[in-house]
């Protein structure tokens, strides 16, 4: 710290830029690593002054030093290797994030205190998504009331081993992803949201198709709608809000995104996330009830005839 505590300490990079080598002693002391010595991470430094290193640019410095984290955080590091961010690092994309780009280098704070920090961290690169999220029902609850139930980025997207959200396998897994919260009775009860959303979806045509495609583990032949195709992705709004794609007035145009020839009565083919009942979808309920009674009636009647017939010809000839 004798040298690096000096704010003026800097070094020239090969591309002509100057990089500050100053480490804020106070910031480090208050970081999660504040109790460690410098050499705990910079283990290759054994003498002072240490040997000088040459770097092409800032990115080369980052790429050299983020590798230091894995000595302790090996699990996170190895998970990172499977994620899309690392794939970009490996391709040489200079904008792909390494450990220090999200977590910082010396002044490392807990990433989720408060939780809203996570969304802000991601939004530094993913600004479009960040803005959409911030105005969504989830994002507003997070920023306005620090709601602990709404998801932040990393609840859906694994921060280290983050799979490609544009892949078909991701799309087909969305119902299970949303269900992690939306099928939880405890969590949904606070907001009066039905937890039948998953089962009612899975029992319907789209849901059956999506789950079968999912278990087939190959690219689907046809596109089938999952949660986000109707509800929106990062910009998810309340279903009863005026701007919701799902209130009656907007529903037809939502359906038409996939069914361009749909007529005005087409959207009501979807009876919502409800089990058929006399209030919701009385016709479907009536048909269901009819077969619930009619099948046992017919089969029971025929079965009774068979038994009587057997009884007469075999037992009481």
């Amino acid at each position: 710290m004798a040298c690096h505590g000096n704010p003026a300490l800097s070094s020239k990079l090969q591309n002509g830029e100057t990089i500050s080598l100053y480490v804020d002693r106070n910031g480090f002391a208050h970081s999660v690593h504040g109790k460690f010595e410098c050499v705990a991470c910079h283990f290759d430094v054994s003498r002072v002054p240490h040997a000088a290193e040459q770097f092409v640019n800032r990115r080369a410095v980052t790429l050299r030093y983020y590798e230091l984290c894995k000595r302790c955080h090996f699990q996170e590091y190895s998970r990172l290797l499977d994620g899309v961010h690392y794939a970009e690092i490996a391709k040489g994309n200079p904008r792909a994030p390494t450990c220090v780009d999200c977590h910082g280098a010396h002044a490392i704070a807990p990433p989720a205190k408060p939780r809203v920090l996570i969304s802000r961290t991601c939004a530094r690169c993913h600004s479009g998504v960040g803005a959409a999220y911030a105005s969504s029902v989830h994002g507003r609850a997070l920023t306005e009331e620090n709601n602990p139930d709404v998801p932040v980025c990393t609840d859906c997207h694994d921060p280290h081993n983050n799979s490609n959200p544009l892949a078909a396998s991701w799309h087909l897994n969305i119902p299970q992803l949303c269900a992690r919260c939306h099928a939880s009775k405890e969590r949904m009860a606070k907001y009066g949201i039905s937890t039948e959303v998953l089962t009612t979806y899975l029992n319907d045509f789209h849901g059956v198709t999506a789950s079968l495609y999912r278990s087939e583990h190959k690219s689907p032949v046809e596109f089938t709608a999952t949660c986000t195709d109707c509800h929106g992705v990062h910009n998810i709004a309340r279903v009863d809000g005026a701007s919701s794609p799902l209130i009656k007035a907007n529903l037809l145009s939502t359906c038409r995104r996939c069914h361009p020839d749909a007529s005005a009565s087409f959207p009501s083919a979807w009876i919502g996330h409800y089990e058929p009942s006399p209030e919701h979808a009385p016709l479907v309920y009536a048909v269901k009830l009819f077969y619930l009674l009619f099948i046992p009636f017919v089969i029971g009647g025929l079965g009774l005839q068979i038994i009587l017939h057997l009884w007469r010809i075999v037992v009481r000839r």
Binding site: S215, Y291, H309
Partner: protein
């Protein structure tokens, strides 16, 4: 007993084989979709090469089944109109009497059994159950295949209602076939274990006299009128 009559024409026999094969295909591909949460259903779908192929098979078999049903009804109607065949499958008042009489017989309230014509009440019940059920399956199947087209003229709720009806009616048909039909053609006749008439077309005079006495009596009368003495004769 080698004497027999031809009970079913070649066309009727072919229709039965087609209906049987298509029924099995439709039931297999249909129930795999209806009970998709069950493991056996997912296994079946995977074994057939995925849901898209299963749907393709199901719809293909449905189109063939529709063609079979329509051709059967149209040809049957033409035969009746041209007086080439008797509309002997139409239910009559006698069928209800027969059913009541057999019920009394089964319950040992009487020892008298009904005397049947060409088709007994159980066969008529099954035939018309199948015709009406097929009609419902064809209409609801069409609705499910073309939901966008259907909702141009009908309210949207028709689609989930048709889905419910298609599944319910299919299950009912399947259960009737595996209980009632299988029992009646495999166990309830004198040809215990397998009544082959619908495949060979032939029924022995002995069985005919026993199971369809009115038809047999009419046949006898006609035969005597013709004074023919052929060993085997057709109706």
């Amino acid at each position: 007993m080698n004497e027999y009559v031809i009970r079913f024409s070649i066309r009727q026999r072919i229709e039965h084989v087609c209906a049987m094969v298509l029924f099995v295909m439709l039931a297999l591909t249909g129930f795999a979709q209806k009970f998709v949460q069950a493991e056996w259903a997912q296994w079946t779908i995977e074994a057939m090469g995925g849901i898209d192929r299963v749907r393709c098979f199901h719809r293909g078999a449905g189109v063939l089944f529709t063609a079979l049903t329509v051709s059967h009804l149209v040809l049957g109607l033409i035969m009746v109109i041209r007086a080439r065949a008797q509309p002997s499958i139409i239910p009559t008042r006698k069928d209800f009497h027969d059913a009541a009489m057999m019920m009394r017989y089964y319950l040992r309230l009487s020892d008298e059994q009904a005397r049947f014509d060409r088709y007994d009440y159980r066969q008529k019940f099954e035939y018309w159950g199948m015709v009406l059920g097929s009609g419902l399956m064809i209409v609801t199947g069409f609705i499910l295949c073309f939901p966008v087209l259907t909702t141009r003229v009908l309210p949207g709720e028709i689609i989930p209602a048709a889905r419910m009806a298609h599944g319910g009616e299919g299950l009912l048909a399947f259960l009737v076939v595996i209980t009632w039909h299988i029992y009646n053609v495999h166990f309830a006749t004198d040809e215990f274990s397998f009544d082959s008439t619908i495949f060979s077309g032939k029924i022995s005079l002995e069985r005919m006299e026993k199971e369809h006495p009115l038809e047999y009596a009419q046949l006898r009368a006609e035969k005597e009128k013709r004074e023919g003495t052929a060993e085997a004769f057709e109706i």
